[in-house]
């Protein structure tokens, strides 16, 4: 139960940062997807059930606070959670570079997913712009994970210490 409290708190903090504050630092089109980093972190650190709950509800929260069709990010994040969990059990990705690489790839795939759904919905008027934009955004998200991952690890450790066993 306590892990779920952490999940709720984590999602709330991340969405507040995403919606209200990170835009001051990075232009809106390039801002890092911190919720995605949280999901990849869950794929590496959490067990399957709490992890997928986090991915799903994190996705729903992002869907609510963005212009995406409801459920898009819930789906993408669930897939990301499974993929990052599998990658962690198959390869040794639990290093700063490995984690940043996984986040980069996950952000890129998320971008492809979003652009494809938008492309199906109507003309994007993006031309070749979508590719460098997606690459830049993914790179920024990957680099941000280098700072966010240790922060999440520390928060998780502090939370466990505070509330005791899960």
């Amino acid at each position: 139960m306590r892990v779920f409290t952490f999940i709720v708190l984590g999602c709330l903090v991340v969405v507040i940062v995403q919606v209200a504050s990170i835009g001051f630092v990075v232009p809106a089109a390039y801002k890092p997807d911190i919720m995605l980093i949280l999901v990849v972190w869950a794929g590496i650190r959490l067990e399957a059930v709490p992890g997928i709950v986090l991915a799903f509800f994190g996705g729903i929260v992002v869907d609510i606070f963005s212009g995406s069709p409801t459920g898009l990010f819930a789906l993408v994040y669930c897939l990301t959670f499974v993929a990052s969990g599998s990658a962690n059990s198959t390869f040794d990705i639990d290093t700063p570079v490995g984690r940043a690489l996984v986040v980069f790839v996950a952000a890129l795939l998320t971008g492809v997913f979003v652009v494809l759904t938008r492309w199906f919905a109507g003309p994007l008027g993006a031309g070749t712009y979508a590719v460098p934009a997606a690459l830049a955004k993914s790179l920024i998200t990957g680099l941000t994970s280098l700072a966010v991952f240790p922060l999440l690890d520390r928060s998780w450790a502090g939370y466990e210490k505070l509330v005791g066993e899960r």
């Binding site: 995403q18 232009p27 919720m35 992002v62």
Partner: protein, 281 residues
């Protein structure tokens, strides 16, 4: 009392020396040879001693001066900080005042009732061009309602809750607006683009549209009132199938600077756009 002739001689020598100095002194002190000799001997010592004294005194005075200056500096810096803070607050208020005045003017100009709202957030992931305002259904704000600022069209309300609404911006590919080129009166459909700016499609091939032309809402979409500024034509090309012209449009609004907006509380059924009505001056 002197004990020997030698001692008496030394005493006398000193007295004579004193007398020589006394009687050899001219009108100006220091002019006598004895005085010059004395100065020559004493000067380096005096210089050194004075120098040391001066330095110590200087250090001492500087220390006290510095303490005072530091104190003064600290209080002046604190005052500067306070004044800067006050200045930035005043500038912020002045800018806010100017923006609100513009909104108020715009509100007076609108034929439709409208409500001012404050921007409280932007799209969570940045893949979509949306922002959040602090007005919801409890204030009469509903989905599909147009959102404007003094410079022009901002977008449309796409989701809302009781106290908050989501506005899809003009630059989002998901938003389409019926537009007209102000100079040529040609119609087109404007939609956002993932690249910067917007694209105006379906302009007739014979149109004389040129870069710099102003684009305004036509009112034909039933959502936006006609005549609201949208942007300016940046470039014109032939569409993919060659049946229409397409133009890239620079929005009139700088979306990153928006802090307050005006939601036009139009009827849900849209605005009155009977054929021919939109052409009336």
């Amino acid at each position: 009392m002197p004990r020997s002739i030698r001692e008496i001689a030394i005493i006398l020598l000193f007295i004579a020396g004193g007398l020589v100095i006394l009687f050899s002194t001219g009108t100006k002190p220091g002019d006598s040879a004895a005085a010059r000799a004395l100065y020559t001997v004493i000067r380096p010592i005096q210089h050194a001693v004075y120098g040391i004294h001066h330095r110590i005194g200087g250090i001492w005075n500087s220390y006290f001066d510095l303490v005072g200056v530091r104190e003064e500096n600290r209080s002046l810096q604190e005052e500067i900080r306070k004044l800067r803070r006050q200045r930035s607050v005043l500038l912020f208020k002045e800018r806010e005042n100017r923006r609100l005045r513009k909104l108020l003017d715009l509100k007076r100009q609108h034929e439709f009732p409208s409500i001012a709202a404050r921007v409280i957030g932007e799209d969570a992931v940045g893949w979509y061009r949306t922002l959040f305002i602090d007005r919801g259904s409890s204030d009469g704000v509903l989905t599909e309602m147009p959102v404007t600022v003094a410079e022009g069209v901002v977008g449309r309300v796409t989701r809302n809750s009781q106290d908050m609404s989501q506005v899809t911006l003009l630059t989002d590919p998901g938003l389409t607006v019926g537009c007209r080129i102000a100079r040529t009166r040609d119609r087109g459909v404007l939609s956002g683009s993932l690249e910067s700016g917007c694209v105006l499609r379906y302009i007739r091939l014979e149109s004389d549209v040129r870069p710099g032309d102003e684009v305004v809402t036509s009112g034909m979409d039933g959502i936006f009132p006609r005549g609201l500024p949208v942007g300016r034509i940046e470039s014109v090309t032939k569409g993919e199938q060659g049946l229409f012209l397409e133009a890239r449009v620079t929005p009139a609004v700088n979306f990153s600077d928006i802090e307050e907006v005006l939601v036009v509380l139009g009827r849900r059924g849209g605005f009155d756009v009977r054929p021919g009505l939109e052409d009336r001056p």
